[in-house]
Every structure is written in C-alpha cells, then in structure tokens.
C-alpha cells in the first residue's frame, strides 16, 4: 500500500469508494471514461438507483472496511430521475456531514457532488480532487476498529 519513495517520503495510494446514482453521475463517469479523461485509478464506483438510496451507513461501512475516502454523487437539483430523491439526500447528508465532523471524522474525506450525465470533465475533477486531498490526509487508520482484508 505504501512504500518509501526515492526521496525517502512515503507515497500512499488512497482507496476511495464512490456511491453514485445510476442516472446522472454513473453516466457522467462513463462519459469521462469513454472520453479518455485522465483520472486517478483509486476510485471504485458503486452504482445505486438514486442518491436518495445512499444510506449514510454506506459511508460508515466503507470506512469500516478500509476506505480512506468516500465520494457521494448524483443528479443536480431538479434533475432527479425520481423527482425528489436528491433533495432528500441533500438534507440527510448535510446533517450527517456535520455529525461526522462532530465525532472527528474529517469531512475532507467525504466528497459530495452533483455530476450530470454530460459532465464527464467534472467527474474527472471530483475523482482527481478527492484522490489528491485524501492522499494528503493519509490513510484513515484512525477510523475506530477499521478492518482491512488480507492481501492489502
């Protein structure tokens, strides 16, 4: 996972899980891929029907299981395939984000974004930005009781 580089510094490749909605961000990510946009390979995407389906427990589960950062992304306001899923999600994540911050989970480890199907470039920015930010923060070893499967 991390090995000393030539100059003695430790390079670290963060593991980032992205929970994205099927209709906008997943399509946007697909566009980013087919457009051959340069993107950090650290992000694993999990596709869900809607940001409204993204339970806050998904974020915790990702950290529990060894993620160093999380991306949550879906349709822009007014674009939700189910009309209002993203509005509900927006409230839930607004509250959860502050609660996480209160117990000491650095909010910089979690990126929330709206990425539409046409915003391949924005997706690449979100991926690269998050990867770089989490790389600076280092591995999330302090997450209470974090497990990591063998071979990591």
């Amino acid at each position: 996972m991390s090995a000393p580089g030539a100059d003695g510094t430790v390079s670290f490749e963060p593991r980032i899980i992205a929970f994205v909605c099927n209709w906008c961000t997943y399509t946007g990510a697909d566009l980013a891929g087919t457009s051959r946009l340069p993107m950090a390979p650290n992000v694993r995407i999990i596709r869900l029907p809607c940001t409204g389906r993204i339970d806050t427990l998904f974020i915790l589960k990702a950290f529990e299981r060894g993620a160093d950062g999380v991306i949550v992304s879906g349709c822009h306001p007014a674009d939700c395939h189910y009309t209002s899923g993203n509005y509900h999600a927006r409230r839930r994540f607004a509250i959860f984000r502050e609660l996480m911050e209160f117990v000491g989970i650095d909010p910089r480890r979690v990126t929330f974004s709206w990425v539409s199907a046409s915003e391949g470039g924005k997706w690449a920015e979100v991926v690269n930005g998050t990867t770089e930010r989490v790389r600076q923060l280092g591995p999330f070893e302090t997450y209470p009781g974090r497990v990591r499967s063998a071979g990591e």
Binding site: Y87, H88, R91, A94, G104, G129, P144
Partner: protein, 298 residues
C-alpha cells in the same frame, strides 16, 4: 373535550379519578412514589389514583409507552397520560409519524419547571441537580394537552446547558474529537437501553437488529459502537424531543444527549426547525426545500 384548568396535585388525582369513573379511559399512565424516587405507574382502579404524584423528580418520558410496539400497554385500552412539555413533544412525534391517533389518548399536561437528572435525586430542584437538557427547553407547559394541572412554574435554575460542552468539543481538532468519542463510546456494551427507552425509536425492526445484511455490527467494539451511535443520532434528526431518556438509561453513563443536541442544533441552524408539540408540522428529514443550502456539495 374541554380544557380544565386546575391548580394543585390534588387536582391531578381528582381529574384522573373522573377520567376513570366516566370511562373516558381505562388506565392512567402517570407517576407514583417508588423506593428510589418516582416511577411510572399504570392506574386502573379509581382508588389507586391517590398514588399519583408529580414533581421535579418525575423525569421519565411516559410517551415511550405509547409506541405501538408496547403490546402489553396496548392491551390496557385507552390511556390518559401525564405529560411534561418534552413528553408532549414525543406524543406529537408519534402522532406526526402515524404511530398514534390523537383521539386515542388523553393528555394530562403538567406544568414543569425542569426536572432533576435522576429520579432518586434531591428534594429541591437546584442549579446543581437540574437536568442540563431542561435548560435548553423553554416550554413550561405542553400545548397539546387536553387538561393542564399544576401551578405556573418559573424556568429551571442554573445555566449549565450542554452547549458549552458542545462548543468545547467543536473546538478540538478532528483527531482529538475522534479520540474523545472513541473513548466515550468504548464504554458501550450495546444493551440498546438508549433505543428501548426512546419514545421516538418505535421501528418494528431496528436497523441495528437487521442481519441480512448486518449493517451495524452488533458487537460492542469500536466499529459497531460508532456505527450504532451515529446512526441512532441521525435517525433522530429533527425527531429527538430532548427528553434525555437515552442518556439517563445508559448504564455506561455515555453522554449520548450530546450527539442528539448537536444534530438538533444543525437542524435548527440549517432548516430553522425545532421539535414542537404541534403534530401537524412535517419533520425536516421527511421534507425539503428547493433552495436548501448546499455549500458542502461540489
């Protein structure tokens, strides 16, 4: 239903007797003296109404017994319940979330000037023993009540609300906060008393009890405890009535109310929402505005 305004504890007993005699209800859910201070009691006989009491040690939120999962209580039939302002907020929550019909319960509101931390507490309410949450409550009487008893009360003594502690924690670095909470939550043994006593935790099957898949690990280790307490606090966002029962029931003395208080402040600041005993207002988590702040979203 008429509103009877009476002014002494004797009137609580008289009112209860009347409700039973007139068969308006089949039981009164109130407080009686136990060996360790007042405790909940279900009075079904007119003569037993003499046992009913109310004072600043009546800490318990009796609305917890109104949740539909209390099958034994449901067997009693229609209840009249003694409620403080915080308890009435819970009753309103149950009505708001379709767990209870307003007409299925008679609410005997009591004027309350704050309660102590522990029912087994002091004879006099003082700045030293007042439950901190009462300093965050500005309702001296429930508006939802059918009847209202007791003299008007002054606000509770003291000024040590938990907001100072919240600010202290917020001033720490993320690492320090995580260390603090990991340490506080390490005392949790997952008895789930916080959930069982909570009037707003009425789910038929709690997410913490679900096993397919197991979202929240049931083991009382750092991982399971953090996931549980964060989820509990979040699921109570805009619903927690600040009755403090979770914290009082916790055998590990974890200051759980801080999490709820934090969430309540977020909800108040972001959505201008405060939990009241008006059952007609929607909860902030079940509602949204097109122009909700989204400064945290890229």
């Amino acid at each position: 239903m008429f509103v009877l305004r009476v002014n002494s504890m004797q009137d609580l007993k008289e009112l209860s007797k009347k409700l039973l005699e007139q068969k308006q209800v089949s039981a009164i859910l109130g407080y009686e003296h136990g060996r360790r201070g007042p405790r909940p009691v279900f009075v079904t006989e007119v003569a037993d109404c003499e046992r009913l009491v109310f004072d600043h040690r009546c800490v318990h939120n009796l609305a917890a017994y109104l949740s539909p999962r209390r099958t034994l209580v449901a067997q009693l039939g229609r209840l009249a319940v003694v409620v403080k302002a915080c308890d009435a907020r819970a009753v309103a929550g149950l009505i708001r979330e379709s767990q209870l019909k307003r007409e299925d319960v008679v609410l005997i509101g009591v004027r309350c000037g704050g309660v102590v931390r522990d029912p087994n507490g002091a004879e006099q309410l003082s700045a030293d023993n007042v439950a901190p949450r009462c300093l965050e409550c500005d309702k001296r009487e429930p508006a939802l009540a059918d009847h209202l008893v007791g003299e008007p009360k002054p606000p509770p003594p003291g000024s040590a609300s938990r907001d100072a502690r919240l600010s202290e924690i917020e001033a720490l670095s993320p690492g320090e906060r995580l260390t603090l909470w990991t340490s506080l939550l390490s005392r949790c043994t997952r008895c789930h008393a916080c959930r069982q006593v909570c009037p707003m935790c009425f789910c038929e099957r709690c997410i913490a009890d679900k096993t397919q898949p197991t979202w929240i690990e049931t083991s009382p280790h750092a991982r399971g405890n953090l996931a549980w307490h964060l989820t509990r606090a979040l699921h109570l966002a805009g619903r927690c009535v600040n009755c403090g029962e979770c914290e009082r029931a916790c055998p590990a003395h974890i200051p759980l109310g801080l999490l709820n208080r934090k969430v309540a402040r977020v909800v108040a600041e972001r959505y201008g929402y405060r939990v009241t005993d008006d059952p007609s207002t929607p909860t902030p988590i079940g509602a949204y505005r097109l122009d909700d702040e989204q400064e945290f979203i890229q």
